[in-house]
Amino acid sequence: MTGALVVADTIEGGRRLITVAAGLNLPVSAVTHDPTVATGLTDYVSDVVYHLVGSSDRLHDYYSAFAGLVRDRQPDLVLIADTVPGRELAAMSAAQLDVALVSGATRLVTDGTRITATRLVYGGSFEREEQLGGLTIVTVPTELHHPAAASATTAERVTVEATADQRVTVTKRATVTRSGPDLASALAIVGVGLGLRHRDDLSLADELAGALDGAVACTRPVAEDRGWLPTERYIGISGAKITSDLYVALGISGQTQHTAGLRDVKVVVAINSDPAAPIFAAADYGIVGDLYQIVPLLIQAIEDSRHGQ
């Protein structure tokens, strides 16, 4: 097989990876363990949709079967979403296949013969290009790409009996999502950092997001150490990469690990009490001040401007 093999555990995630493959002019096949995704993707994939059928509901448990499929079909490129299970599947199968894994590629380009991936290193301070040799697995932050439109042809669907490695069992699952628009589609995003003093003060960010018709996000420590927002809501090199028109950073110092997630934002605004905070160098507009004083004024001013005052 020449072309790209896209790994999908949701239809939308798969469609976003198909966009990446199409950008490299590669014909696309897809693989999933989910019957609904397999059916849904036949409209978007040009070649084959492989449906792995086995005893697990977690795609990464099929890493061995997946590696077998790759060995068998020999795609030029394997694309996987840069998520926790995606990274696990990518690394386990890359080890079994003894092939390269390029993680978190922010850009993939081709000169017609060779593919070059760009990725961030040193916490987002630097980036580096890597030219791919043979078969390579690449993980991609899917939120940077639009979902592909339907393809001209309907893909063939192939069922593959697959053994799952279920030595790791899930004993319990708990949902931690927070209502509000998701970060991939929000046009405006308000981000909070450790400059926010109390959990209850999130209401301030919520109100600003409401005025902007946007979503609330945060830095990694706000999600991971404080647990104030779900971890899927933090932005940065290890979190979400956002593409909104507007990002307003409240009480965020602006370390490169955080600002690495803002590269595709159109306008970045920073409000921070420390004039030396690095966020101001990564922002288009900044106010040096106390967020507790500025944000209520900002909400009011946005509403006034909305109503043409």
């Binding site: 990274r87 080890a95 028109d245």
Partner: protein, 256 residues
């Protein structure tokens, strides 16, 4: 039980110099990769009195420089696989070397790695080691514990928290939340001087440099500079600053 914690000596990014000709790392300092400090603390955290915690690294000669810092964080011994061109090793090569070293140490029940290194941050060495050693892996755990012969872990996948369980031997990769990594005290630093550092070579592990050649060809590092307007509204009181900001946002067309 033997617990192996893997760590990397990485360049301190703030000590790398950026100029118009590129990034100069020749005078950069080495540190224990940030999250590997948490991995070491996490390994120490699950160890009982009778367990042995062994720290393992693969690197160039400079990898030995961080050994004392590692030992002062609690491990009983450091194993360092030293090779000249370790700096260019990719995740595939690093995992092969560490897996071979773990096999050679023998009787390892638990391998703990950081989620990703502060330089390459590729999230692949831990799961690759698991695949090479045929162990199950639990990656990116925010909490974990050992109960009898099982490992239990907690992690967040998208909007779902998963509680995981597997029998040992197993590989765990951990987020910083899994264990705080305080700066070691003076007593621990003094004790570290008496602990052994065992060097290993690739040949001793049955590996040769060609099987470890990088699988992609990596270009030079380039600095990432945000091309932002950097306009501050410094003058006047808060209300006029905010008015200036809102005016600018309207002009940008980002206020609807």
């Amino acid at each position: 039980m033997n617990i192996v914690v893997c760590y990397k000596s990485a360049l301190e990014e703030t000590s790398m110099l950026v100029s118009s000709s590129g990034v100069d790392a020749t005078r950069a300092r080495h540190k224990i990769s940030d999250y590997d400090r948490n991995a070491i603390a996490a390994g120490m955290g699950v160890a009982t009195e009778t367990d042995r915690v062994l720290a393992l690294t693969f690197g160039g000669l400079e990898a030995k420089k961080t050994a004392k810092d590692v030992l002062s964080r609690g491990p009983d011994q450091v194993y360092a696989v030293i090779a000249n061109d370790a700096a260019s090793a990719d995740g595939a090569a690093t995992a092969k070397v560490l897996a071979a070293a773990i096999r050679s140490i023998g009787d390892v029940d638990l391998v703990v790695c950081g989620e990703g290194s502060s330089d390459s941050y590729a999230h692949q060495v831990g799961p690759r080691i698991a695949a090479l050693l045929s162990m199950p892996v639990m990656s990116e755990l925010s909490e974990f514990s050992v109960e009898g012969t099982a490992i239990k872990g907690k992690r967040t996948v998208g909007g779902v928290t998963e509680f995981l369980c597997a029998d040992l031997p197993a590989v765990a990769t951990v987020l910083p939340a899994a264990a705080e990594a305080p700066i070691p005290g003076l007593k621990a630093v003094l004790a570290a001087g008496k602990k052994p550092l065992t060097e290993m070579t690739l040949a001793e592990l049955g590996l040769d440099a060609t099987s470890l050649a990088p699988k992609t060809s990596a270009g030079p590092l380039t600095a990432v500079l945000a091309s932002r307007k950097r306009i501050l509204f410094p003058d006047g009181d808060a209300s006029s600053q905010v008015a200036g900001l809102v005016g600018a946002l309207v002009k940008e067309g980002v206020l609807r």
